[in-house]
Symmetry: C2
Subunit: 88 residues, 2 copies
């Protein structure tokens, strides 16, 4: 981080593509039913990442975050990602 | 799901409390640096859940989701949760 860089914070959500089997979500749904915790029709489990980027400007930070999502955090065969900036 | 029930969809984010060691996040951060993917100061990994609830009204659905978060999805010693309703 140099003097003329700013800090941007992003949340990245990685979820399974539609149609991909989600055994973890299915197990949680069963557990909710067994324990009578509520009437839940569907559960999907995904991953969440908080990235704190230091960059010259927002465009550069977004570019980096997109690349990290595509190259590192997501298996594009079965998963897809979305991200959004958060203030704090 | 009975006739007078509606469907509500929620996203639940479970993240580690501040100060709790996050080795997964640390490993991702190192990987970003080694692969020169961007200037990332910090990475935190959490869990994401999409819950589809069937309920008489929104209040009831929120009550169920909160209970599921507290009793099943979160280890309250080291984690905390937030949730928000999504439209689709």
């Amino acid at each position: 981080m140099t003097l003329n860089e700013k800090v941007f914070k992003f949340k990245v959500e990685v979820i399974l593509k539609k149609g991909v089997l989600d055994p973890q979500g299915e197990a949680i749904k069963q557990s909710i039913n067994i324990n009578n915790l509520g009437n839940i029709l569907d559960v999907k489990q995904g991953k969440l990442f908080e990235l704190t980027a230091s960059s010259k400007n927002r465009e550069q930070a977004i570019k980096e975050v997109e690349r990290i999502c595509a190259d590192l955090l997501t298996n594009s065969v079965i998963e897809e990602f979305t991200y959004y900036e958060v203030s704090e």
